[in-house]
């Protein structure tokens, strides 16, 4: 599964900010850390502020900080601000009414269900508490 760019930026931001909820970070701080576009990140942060996951303070010493509930907010909750992950396709795919097309759709649905259940089972707190478990298992680039 590939998350869209805005979702990835949102996850980077929320998780980085939640890792130290007392700390304020600017969009530039976050953009530099993850080597992403600060222009695009600002739009994402604006959406996170509207969703009340992130608070912003203007002026010196200001910036963004996490204001959500770490135990309750899941990766799915964050992703859904930017993608219609739970929604089935609005229009049926071509050939869905054929035996092969229908079976293929059901297999893709099965994969989607696993993805959704996984994202929904990982809270911000769980992510931060367990992320170090994954450090030895990063897939190696084949390039």
């Amino acid at each position: 599964m590939k998350l869209n760019k805005a979702t990835r930026f949102a996850l980077f931001s929320v998780l980085e900010l939640a890792n130290n909820p007392e700390r304020h970070l600017s969009a530039t701080d976050i953009a530099n850390k993850f080597d992403i576009s600060s222009h695009h990140l600002l739009k994402v942060l604006h959406s996170l502020v509207r969703a009340r996951l992130v608070g912003s303070v203007r002026g010196a010493g200001g910036g963004y900080r996490f204001i959500g509930n770490q135990k309750r907010i899941t990766l799915l909750d964050i992703a859904e601000i930017f993608e219609d992950i739970r929604l089935p396709p609005v229009e049926a795919e071509a050939a869905d009414d054929t035996e092969i097309g229908n079976a293929l759709s059901q297999i893709m649905h099965e994969i989607d269900e696993i993805t959704i259940a996984t994202l929904n089972s990982i809270s911000v707190e769980t992510f931060l508490k367990t992320m170090h478990f994954y450090q030895d298992d990063l897939p190696k680039s084949t390039n």
Partner: protein
């Protein structure tokens, strides 16, 4: 790194957020082997959580896994009040899987949730598995079971190399 090593790395108590009668005594809870007298409480708690009263199942489970027979059947109690259970066994060579610990039931009383009891039960059963040389602990649960999915994730469990499959064989 094995999942048990993962577990040893991360033992971190869940924040205590629930004020209840159980909370007063919860600092003093203990994990012990299940005994016959626990079965009725386990049946009751399981029925609260699942909506099904399975007397015969739990009696059979105790006969099979209690008293250290073929598995680990542990309960949590606080001031001699039952507040949770966990059940697991060692499975081996299912489609090439070397012996692993398999957790297939856990329950914590509603009033005693979010106090670290589930974590303590899970840690205890992992230690039992570890003591007999097991390096991996696995479980299987419904995708829709958000409560248990979140719990096991919070313990450091993650998707493993096996996948559950099923077929409908009814007419």
């Amino acid at each position: 790194m094995s999942s048990l090593n993962y577990h040893n790395l991360k033992i971190e108590k869940l924040q205590k957020t629930v004020e209840s009668m159980s909370a007063k005594a919860i600092n003093n809870f203990l994990i012990r082997d299940a005994v016959t007298n626990d079965i009725s409480e386990i049946v009751k708690l399981d029925a609260q959580n699942t909506g099904l009263e399975k007397n015969e199942y739990w009696k059979a489970a105790f006969d099979r896994f209690g008293n250290g027979n073929g598995g680990f059947f542990l309960v949590a109690e606080s001031d001699q009040h039952f507040c949770g259970y966990i059940l697991g066994e060692i499975r081996a060579w299912e489609f090439g899987s070397p012996p692993c610990g398999w957790v297939f039931a856990i329950g914590v009383h509603n009033d005693a949730r979010e106090m670290g009891i589930g974590s303590k039960l899970f840690k205890s059963i992992c230690q039992h598995f570890q003591q007999v040389g097991i390096e991996k602990v696995r479980t299987m649960l419904a995708r829709s079971d958000h409560l248990n999915m979140s719990f096991f994730r919070s313990q450091g469990m993650r998707g493993g190399p096996f996948i559950q499959l099923e077929i409908n064989v009814s007419e």
